[in-house]
Symmetry: C2
Subunit: 193 residues, 2 copies
DNA sequence: TTTTAATTAAACCAATTAGTCTAATTGTTA
DNA sequence: TAACAATTAGACTAATTGGTTTAATTAAAA
């Protein structure tokens, strides 16, 4: 039958809360309240707030790898359009969220990247895993002549990833998707073959 | 003769500390200690931590407008190269800082943009003031044919600004300027006329 | 069924948080 | 110089922080 609480449920709460409010602005008590779990149970699963955040990051990293893969494996579209459809889906999700969410890793990279080496390393590792997936699809598009060849697939992928995060940050204070749509249009115009 | 402490000195400390450590990870006591000022004096100048942060943001916003202007008014270079020299200077500064700094407004926009409406508004206002300055120079470059004309000067300026912030975020976890240099090269290749 | 380990539960703790208060002091102005 | 306002000073407060502890309970293994 198992015990009362499930680690993955607590991780999900952590994801929701950290993504919206960041790290230092969230206390353990808020996690406990939202997850409806006593403190002792939390510290039975996680050895510290930092450890908890790391597991939340890794969990989200993996979920996002699945999401990326599902878009980039869509054989109904060309590689170029698969990539575009993925970024378009990010815009749509962000709009649904009233531009309050953005990407958990972008949020935490910004807040903790220069403060906490462990979290910086974990974040970088997950960022890179996404960039590699993007780069694979860019490579395919390059071979088909859909994307320009004067930069490597990895460089293009890092470029898109950084640009997307930059736009997320910008949207946190504009609360409008207008520029994200424009960014998408411009970026894909710039990189096309 | 004036009193013992100067508001502008406290704002400078706030800038240094918030830029490196963010908002919620910094207590008033840390500001007091670094500025060597008692609590009563701090609250004589600023009515709250939030009010202090707002003034730090506005102060930095203005300083950065001066910096941008100084680069973009350099008549020894063409508009395109003036823009490039400005972004190159950001890379150099960030390197000097061991990639621990980044832009105060990018840091605070990310941490507080969805949480604190006052700070979001102040941040957006200052972001925009920079983007307008950049856009002016982009316009000049467009008139000379140095920058492509299929997007408005404002769109190009927002694009550069967002991209730069995205790269700053990325560098917070990679601690390397490699990709920022590449980002600069790619962006100016993409926008050139 | 007995033993053992994992989990649940919440009271408790030391440290820190932003902010207040009162008194002494300093500078400015009438 | 006298009166007044601004500033300096730091002890104090109430709330919150991440984390610990101990006891009760539940599940799984022998």
């Amino acid at each position: 039958m198992g015990y009362k609480y499930q680690k993955k449920d607590i991780l999900q709460i952590g994801y929701d809360v950290f993504r919206k409010k960041g790290y230092h602005n969230v206390g353990i008590n808020e996690i406990l309240k939202q997850a409806n779990i006593p403190k002792g149970s939390f510290y039975n699963f996680f050895k510290s707030k930092e450890d908890f955040a790391m597991q939340v990051i890794d969990d989200y990293g993996e979920n996002n790898r699945s999401l990326i893969t599902s878009f980039l494996n869509n054989q109904a579209l060309s590689p170029f359009n698969r990539l575009k459809s993925f970024y378009q889906s990010l815009i749509d999700d962000n709009q649904k969220d009233n531009y309050l969410g953005s990407c958990l890793l972008n949020t935490l990279a910004n807040e903790l990247g220069t403060q906490n080496k462990l979290i910086a390393t974990t974040t970088d590792k997950n960022f890179l895993s996404w960039v590699y997936l993007i780069a694979e699809c860019v490579k395919e598009a390059q071979l088909l002549g859909e994307i320009r060849n004067d930069y490597s697939s990895f460089e293009i992928a890092e470029y898109l990833h950084a640009g997307c995060n930059g736009v997320y940050s910008r949207m946190k204070v504009t609360h409008s998707k207008a520029f994200m749509e424009k960014w998408l249009e411009m970026s894909f115009e710039f990189i096309k073959g």
